[in-house]
Symmetry: C2
């Protein structure tokens, strides 16, 4: 298909593939683990590497934002010669997850290898592979169209703190609001439903997490001395955790579902039409779970994409070593997080949880609730938004097959970007849910990245038509 005259973008991508893979391997070698202060120098090297690559590619304006407190972010801009062209900001991140448990990697995580059609290494998929994909897309777009500048004004914003929860993203957006101004955001940190079922993502769940500690006495007490006569904080906390869901899995915070936006019939039809093998899903995304479960009336995909949830992430109380210690523990801790969907707001759920804890704290127990940050708001854009229609068209051109809309169950800074930049945000990514991101042996499937690059190249061309640009940016989210 390389020479397909309908798709000069495809030929251009193919011609640039070797250089693309070589660059990705080079970048992965820089262990830019943002959550580990010992690697902050590497985050800086990673930003510098990306800036260098952008300059090599011909981007006229390239900056590394490293004036603190945020870890280095990379900004680049390549203006279109057409003053009427819309401005599109591509968002990604260059920090990567830690590599523990390192002994489960088959190759050292920062010595990437190619194996078959995959590249293996930390960050291959999340998110260096997809940022590199967008660099490739711009080169292919120029080569295919014979232009010296892109059809739309392109901006690239690649932060270094996404895996830390983007703690300074708001500040970056506020400090650099002028530079980042745009008509549309394209969010690259997203995946396809399956290798043979490409999808366009239209939203991510939000997240809010915290810790509940129940305090009883000041010391663990021998149960022979007091067992049966003082409150046991582990028992009290178990009762609270048990009350958090009804028997069918619905979350029982007062008002939790009040702001939940139901998916449209069209969205539910799209999700139902996607291939889904429960056995395979349980073995991969389900972490080897023995069965699915959850809110009645919703499919597994709906449960993880469009329904909110509360999960206990950790429990700790008393003695947890080998054998037994017959104590009444002095305290008990539960780490709990919520995945949220539009139009839930993390700050409202925070209040709901505080009220729930107050209601479930028995006499003789003192409760402490702390939240980790302010949470990440959920985000969704209608599949009917004109920008999404264009993205889907570009994807269908590249993938040569029908493309459906989907969602993502995880969380990211999409809502923050959308809210602070005040423009619609769409997704264009080409990784897979089973790329083992955040886990040992992370990989990316190179042919999918090439398809994604081609789709982006199509998108820049298609968005340039003034009519489309106008439709894209005028419509509200």
């Amino acid at each position: 298909m390389a020479g397909d005259s309908r798709h000069p973008e495809r030929a251009a991508v193919e011609a640039l593939t070797d250089s693309f893979v070589a660059g990705l391997l080079e970048w992965i070698r820089i262990p830019s683990i943002g959550v580990d202060p010992a690697h902050h120098g590497d985050v800086r090297r990673s930003a510098d590497w990306l800036a260098g690559r952008l300059r090599e590619d011909g981007w006229p304006q390239v900056e590394v934002w490293d004036d603190g407190p945020a870890l280095p972010a990379v900004f680049a801009c390549w203006p279109s010669e057409d003053p009427q062209a819309p401005t599109v900001l591509v968002y990604g991140h260059h920090d990567v997850q830690p590599v523990d448990p390192v002994e489960r990697w088959h190759h050292p995580p920062f010595e990437p290898v190619t194996s078959g059609d995959e590249v293996l290494g930390r960050g291959a998929s999340d998110d260096k592979g997809q940022v590199a994909m967008h660099l490739l897309a711009v080169r292919a777009h120029l080569a295919a169209t014979g232009r010296t500048s892109p059809s739309v004004t392109l901006k690239l914003f690649v932060e270094g703190e996404e895996e830390s929860g983007s703690p300074h993203l708001r500040k970056l957006l506020e400090d650099h609001g002028n530079a980042l101004g745009c008509d549309l955001v394209v969010f690259t940190d997203t995946s396809l439903h399956e290798r043979d079922a490409p999808t366009v993502n239209t939203g991510q769940r939000g997240v809010l997490g915290g810790e509940i500690v129940f305090y009883g006495g000041t010391d663990d007490v021998h149960s022979g001395r007091a067992g049966g006569a003082i409150p046991n904080p582990a028992t009290a906390l178990a009762k609270l955790v048990a009350a958090l869901h009804d028997d069918e899995g619905r979350v029982r915070l007062d008002g939790f579902y009040d702001d939940v936006r139901e998916p449209t019939d069209r969205e539910r039809e799209d999700y139902a039409s996607l291939p889904f093998d429960e056995r395979v899903w349980l073995a991969t995304s389900g972490g080897g779970a023995q069965a699915t479960s959850g809110e009645p009336g919703y499919s597994t995909l709906e449960r993880i994409w469009v329904r909110p949830t509360a999960e206990v992430n950790g429990l700790l109380s008393g003695y947890t070593g080998p054998g037994l210690k017959t104590i009444v523990p002095a305290s008990a801790t539960a780490k709990i997080s919520f995945r949220l969907v539009p139009d839930q707001r993390p700050e409202k759920v925070e209040d709901q949880l505080r009220a729930f804890v107050a209601k479930h704290t028995p006499d003789g127990i003192r409760a402490e609730v702390t939240f980790r940050g302010t949470g990440v708001p959920p985000y969704a854009i209608s599949p009917d938004h004109p920008a999404n229609a264009t993205v889907r068209e570009a994807m269908e051109l590249a993938f040569d097959r029908p493309v459906r809309f989907a969602r993502a169950g995880g969380s990211g800074p999409a809502a923050v970007l959308q809210a602070l930049l005040g423009v619609p945000l769409v997704y264009l990514g080409a990784t897979l849910p089973d790329d083992r991101v955040h886990a040992p042996n992370e990989r990316v499937v190179v042919p999918l990245l090439l398809k994604g690059a081609e789709a982006a190249a199509h998108l820049w061309r298609m968005l340039a038509g003034a009519g489309i640009a106008k439709r894209v940016t005028d419509e509200s989210v």
Copy 2:
């Protein structure tokens, strides 16, 4: 009072006090921590020390039982010259608890000090102090009565594995049944209600402990990928733990209370008549708890002495470090123990717990239940048993005040001794509930040990009257 003609035993105890304290300090210096294999040599040294002391005291038959698998136990016998005299076996232990957290000791745990009327050091109260008290009692008994052998045939059995749960006690009793044959057991590892409220203990709760593990998947899963769509073992386990007690604190295992023997009115009156300051109890035995709680209709003392209980001793699931990890954990563990009262049987409660777990294991979760050993059965003897009447009389003579009956909330091998030796078992101890046994800065109050020694000396004299001996041993427990 030393010269009180009514109490030659008191004068005899007083004359031997210095030698008694010096011996106790020497013995405490041997760190006989039975649960720590690194200290097994010290357990042997401790047994040898005790055997040496017994020989010095004139006991004609002294043996160290060290033929494995049990840690060394000491056996001694001093036959009465009177062939009609009953045989009494005194039970105690010479192994001690570990000393963690060692940094909270004001003096090194095995460099005992005397301070005011206390001796401080690991084992001072539990149980070296009380075994030494009985050695003193025998010397005082002989001195006060002018005899060369005791009024009753005395046997002493001091094991080295009590703090390990007496795992080989049954075997020891079976192997040495002939040597240990007796008409009555006196159990020394027990305490008084308060310094100014001496009591005779009439029972201990049993204990059964184990671990419940709920397994979901094979790996922790990112909650963005599966949260809401697979069972969370931490939530499921919390629901099980929550179901273990009703809202008023009653244990909800089917049949749990079926075999529970209610205390008699007489016992409840005795317990109600004991001084009890809830504020002080919460600060000491209650480990700083903010309030008492428990089964309705029972006092705090009844809740810990005569009512069974279930306690969560530990919880562990998922991520428990600093901050948050938004995972659905692969498994969750609860350590749970039960304190049991007559006539509950550990093996029956084990079955009840297994049935309860089976009932509360939801679809998609696999449960594993393991018990630590076979548990310790509860034990109680009626306060109206003639042996108890004699013990109380001896205690009242020594303490110069009314003595009431009480119970203990902890557990020990009393039921095993009673069952295998087939004779009644009574308690004679003189330590205090706030001696910080199993905790830093363990102490014993020396004047109370002297009173206890005097009481035992009275007891040996009083039991010698053939009528009493007959009454004591004929009555069923």
